[in-house]
């Protein structure tokens, strides 16, 4: 064949190829091939199961979508007594089942410092031997306030001869101790003063016609915040009886965003503000209580003049009087007074809140708690009387026992001065962690025993702090333990109960028996509970005559005589529910709720208003060092006008050094800055009044000078007068929905909205405070 003929043949072949369907089919096949993935979307029948979230502190109801029996998704259960929405943590429960941080098998610390997987039998044998060697010098720290686990653990400890049963510090502890002390008849040894060991206060939001939240961020993290949102959305949406919400606190948080009126408080000044209102009620509106101890209260309230409140809390006298007048005019006003970050406030805010509610006849209920009938058991209220932070300080460099059991608690991350707590844990001879996740505390322990999550195990939830009526529900296994988790006992405590029988203690054989007995004692149908039924029990309204004010002078007013620490700035802590709990870390979907540039490196964003920043010559974006009495932390300044003057706000929930990739090495741990001091009177450790200084370095000054701030300047939110129901509330009313679960005050929508409101104000400043 000649060359020319070959070219002709090739041209003919090309023409044939072009007119055949092959090139088009080939292109189509290549397109399909390029889209082939190993992704396997499961197919099957959808069913729904109802349960209560064990991980979320709000104990919200969950409607769990299952596909062929496998847990796929958590949705809100609207009809649940504490439901109406779903929190950022609860919605991530199905994903957390497969968290890379899950502990999958019992682990024993090996000689070289790492961990070696061991069998459950080996783990039980080792635990039994160590408990015998400890000879009763055992403590237990639990992070589960609402379950029956604490009762079992306390009975177990009592059987060993130990009373050292603790809860992780929380607002529930402060409120419970205040409640118990307010029911005490007289003075004496503090440990003999506690009464009302089986009850707790219930906040009947449903009956309230007006809510004054002082510090308590009740739409984001205080108490049963999902139920709070539902009630607030219903009331504000229906314009029920001129319902109104007023928020007083140091930071413009989600509650402030939804409130009709916002009052800026200095951090830690909740009690002073509350007592200032009580003084006005007594003196101006002649509200009194028929109690012999009330004259002591009255005498002490005389010193809480509006001028004094202005000096201590930063609230103008006119504002104080205005809020007081609103309280007087409102029907069923309810005051929620607590630490803005749900811990470390002592008894002061809770006692002051009780006093104000009693003066106003606020809708408070008495909730009866039920404790399983076990030998040597302690009630939840009794366990709250043990202060772990104080006992840790007293023990000096070690934990106050030879053997420590941590039950779903993470003290190495979430206690004030966590490095000291971590050092104490290290110095303790033997420590065991019952945990679903490999957290900071587990990494310091000698034995780690995996526990199951709320969707995998049978457990109970009873009356979480902040609920209005008695509440009881079970969470039950909807999912088989996640892949890779070695099959073990059905509940972590079953290991302990088996060990108990080895030690000769009289305890039930397993945790399920404890729960069944409790359901029987409560006259509840076990099968109904297993099917997800959540029970709300009748709780009587609080009778003010049951209160005693004899101790208020010692506990409340004594504490306020101490001056706040002298420092350039007060620390306002931002607690964001989307950042999870110390045990879980940041939930998988919630990391995107971090603010812009918040996750740069391992520093935090420090929020400060512009006038405060100008005092230090700082500009937006400047790198600053914040120094407390014990530690210092590097932060990047962000100008935000929703912060009280002379304060700096930092977020808690970052700075994990363990857990999964969603939480580890992101930001810094705020607890490093917090230092616990003793509250005079109650002797409880508190850490809600932290003073900070900014040692101005050369770099900071240069950064401030170079960057400058060209952003528009908004006036402080504290000056905002009453706001008519705005976009946020109208949207909720229209959609009958709760506020968005994620995003917080800095989500694009709410920030823009709040800034827009602030922008409309004409503000005059006087002495650095709005007039």
């Amino acid at each position: 064949m000649k060359r020319r003929d070959f070219i002709k043949f090739a041209a003919g072949a090309g023409a044939g190829f072009a007119v055949s369907p092959l090139p088009y089919n080939l292109a189509g096949d290549l397109a399909v091939w390029s889209q082939n993935t190993t992704l396997n979307v499961p197919d099957g029948e959808n069913t729904f199961a109802y349960t209560t979230s064990k991980l979320c502190p709000s104990a919200c109801g969950l409607k769990v979508r299952l596909l062929d029996g496998k847990v796929l998704r958590a949705l809100p259960w609207e009809e649940h007594p504490l439901g109406g929405g779903v929190s950022a943590l609860a919605i991530a429960e199905p994903q957390l089942l497969h968290s890379p941080a899950r502990v999958k098998t019992p682990l024993l610390r090996s000689a070289h410092g790492g961990f070696t997987p061991i069998s459950w039998t080996e783990a039980e044998r080792l635990l039994l031997r160590k408990l015998r060697e400890a000879e009763g010098d055992v403590l237990c720290l639990s992070g589960d306030e609402t379950g029956s686990s604490s009762a079992v653990l306390s009975a177990f400890l009592k059987g060993l001869g130990s009373d050292k049963m603790y809860f992780m510090p929380s607002e529930a502890q402060c409120a419970s101790l205040a409640w118990q002390m307010a029911h005490s008849p007289g003075a004496g040894n503090p440990n003999s003063l506690y009464k009302a060991a089986n009850t707790q206060v219930g906040f009947d939001l449903e009956k309230a016609g007006f809510i004054l939240a002082i510090g308590a961020n009740f739409l984001e993290n205080w108490g049963t915040f999902i139920r709070n949102r539902r009630v607030f959305a219903q009331k504000s949406g229906q314009r029920e009886d001129n319902f109104a919400l007023v928020y007083a606190g140091p930071v413009h948080n989600q509650t402030a965003s939804a409130a009709g009126r916002r009052v800026a408080l200095k951090p830690g000044a909740e009690t002073v503000f509350c007592l200032g209102l009580a003084a006005l009620l007594v003196q101006k509106y002649e509200r009194r209580l028929n109690d012999r101890g009330f004259n002591v209260i009255e005498r002490n309230l005389n010193s809480f003049t509006p001028a004094y409140v202005h000096a201590r809390a930063g609230v103008l006298p006119s504002t104080l009087e205005d809020v007081c007048e609103k309280l007087i005019r409102a029907q069923n006003p309810l005051v929620l007074c607590a630490s803005a970050f749900n811990q470390g406030s002592g008894l002061g805010p809770s006692l002051a809140g009780f006093l104000l509610n009693l003066l106003l006849r606020g809708p408070l209920n008495v909730i009866t708690l039920h404790t399983p009938n076990l030998a040597g058991v302690k009630t939840r209220s009794e366990i709250f009387r043990n202060d772990f932070v104080k006992d840790l300080r007293k023990a000096g460099g070690t934990l106050p026992a030879k053997l420590a059991v941590f039950y779903e608690a993470n003290p190495a991350y979430a206690l004030p001065e966590p490095t000291s707590a971590a050092a104490a844990i290290r110095a303790t001879p033997f420590k065991v962690s019952f945990t679903p996740f490999m957290d900071e505390t587990a990494l310091l322990c000698d034995l780690i025993l995996p526990t199951l999550l709320g969707l995998e195990k049978l457990d109970d939830i009873e009356s979480p702090h902040g609920c209005g009526k008695g509440f009881y529900a079970l969470c039950r296994p909807l999912a088989a333990p996640a892949a890779g988790i070695r099959q073990g006992p059905r509940h972590g405590l079953d290991v302990l109960l088996e060990t108990a029988s080895g030690l000769g203690l009289r305890l039930p054989a397993n945790y399920e028996t404890v729960l069944k007995n409790k359901a029987r004692d409560l006259a509840l149908n076990w099968n109904d509970l297993l099917n997800g039924k959540a029970v709300e029990r009748n709780s009587p309204a609080l009778d003010s005559s049951s209160f005693s004010f004899n101790l208020f002078e010692k506990l409340l007013f004594e504490a306020l005589k101490t001056e706040p620490p002298e420092a350039q700035l007060s620390l306002a802590v931002l607690s964001r529910c989307a950042l999870g709990t110390p045990q879980t870390g940041i939930p998988p979907f919630a990391l995107k709720t971090a603010w812009g540039k918040e996750l740069l490196g391992t520093s935090l964003l420090a929020l400060m208003n512009k006038s405060t920043a100008q005092k230090f010559g700082l500009a937006d974006g400047a790198e600053i060092t914040l120094r407390s009495r014990t530690a210092e932390l590097v932060a990047r300044l962000k100008i935000f006008e929703g912060i009280a003057p002379d304060s700096v706000a930092l977020s808690m929930g970052f700075g994990h050094t363990a857990l999964d990739a969603f939480s580890r090495n992101k930001g810094a741990n705020l607890f490093d800055l917090l230092q616990a001091v003793e509250e005079p009177g109650s002797e409880l450790m508190v850490w809600d009044k932290t003073g900070l200084n900014i040692p101005l370095s050369r770099q900071t000054t240069i950064a401030a000078t170079q960057q400058g701030d060209t952003r528009p300047h908004f006036e402080p939110y504290s000056a905002a007068p009453d706001v008519k129901p705005g976009l946020f509330r109208r949207q909720m009313a229209a959609r009958r929905l709760t506020p968005p679960a994620r995003g917080g005050i800095h989500s694009r929508r709410s920030k823009t909205w709040s800034e827009a409101i602030i922008k409309r104000r004409d503000i005059t400043l006087q002495d650095g405070l709005p007039v």
């Binding site: 064949m1 003929d5 070959f6 002709k8 043949f9 090739a10 041209a11 003919g12 072949a13 090309g14 023409a15 044939g16 190829f17 007119v19 055949s20 369907p21 092959l22 089919n25 189509g28 096949d29 290549l30 399909v32 091939w33 889209q35 082939n36 993935t37 992704l39 396997n40 979307v41 197919d43 099957g44 029948e45 959808n46 069913t47």
Partner: protein, 207 residues
């Protein structure tokens, strides 16, 4: 006087000059239409010699391929469903006997080769394409035969039973798997679009 070239003309020219081109064309057409496509596919056998033809005689498609209560489509029946009839022999065929022994008695699922399997990112709702939806619109008359509606998209299954299962070596899918152009034949059709709101947006089908 210049010399005249002796180029062939007409049929002679075609034979002498166009033959290689024609030969190439014919060869390519044969290769591209018959030989190469056959190489792309590998013939596979179903694990059980199932025949739609015998089942469709006294049953509807939806008796085995039904919508669940939640709106999802059951697709291939499970062994448990088949066993509701085939727990015992219904006929005399060796295939049925083998099926009962290997799958029903052993309580195993049959690894069917699925002709209409779609990739994981393709979303198709049978609930939105069922006969009730068509009846409500009324375009095809009040009575829409359900079996005929199935055959609008799926090939005639009784004919398919005898056809070999051909798997594309490149894509891994059956030769009979529906392609995007099959979906577009309705979704891109203006009248149908107006009547059904069946949008042609990417995310209608691709998730």
């Amino acid at each position: 006087m210049p010399r005249r070239s002796l180029k062939p003309c007409g049929a002679a020219w075609c034979i002498s000059s166009g033959a290689p081109f024609v030969l190439g064309l014919i060869a390519a057409l044969i290769m591209c239409w018959w030989i190469i496509p056959a190489v792309f596919f590998v013939q596979k056998e179903q694990p059980v010699a199932f025949t739609h033809a015998s089942h469709i005689k006294n049953q509807n498609c939806a008796d085995c391929h039904f919508l669940r209560a939640d709106g999802s489509f059951s697709a291939i029946p499970s062994t448990e469903q088949c066993a509701s009839c085939h727990a015992d022999m219904q006929g005399t065929s060796a295939a049925e006997a083998g099926y009962i022994e290997s799958y029903v008695s052993a309580k195993k699922e049959v690894p069917w080769l699925i002709r209409q399997k779609q990739p994981a990112h393709v979303f198709f709702s049978h609930a939105a394409h069922n006969a009730d939806s068509c009846r409500q619109l009324g375009c095809h008359g009040e009575y829409v035969d359900e079996n005929a509606l199935c055959s609008t998209c799926h090939a005639d299954v009784s004919a398919l039973d005898t056809a070999p299962y051909l798997e594309n070596r490149l894509t891994g899918y059956s030769k009979d798997t529906m392609r995007m152009q099959d979906c577009k034949s309705c979704h891109a059709e203006q009248t149908h679009l107006e009547m059904t709101d069946a949008a042609l947006a990417c995310n209608t089908c691709h998730k």
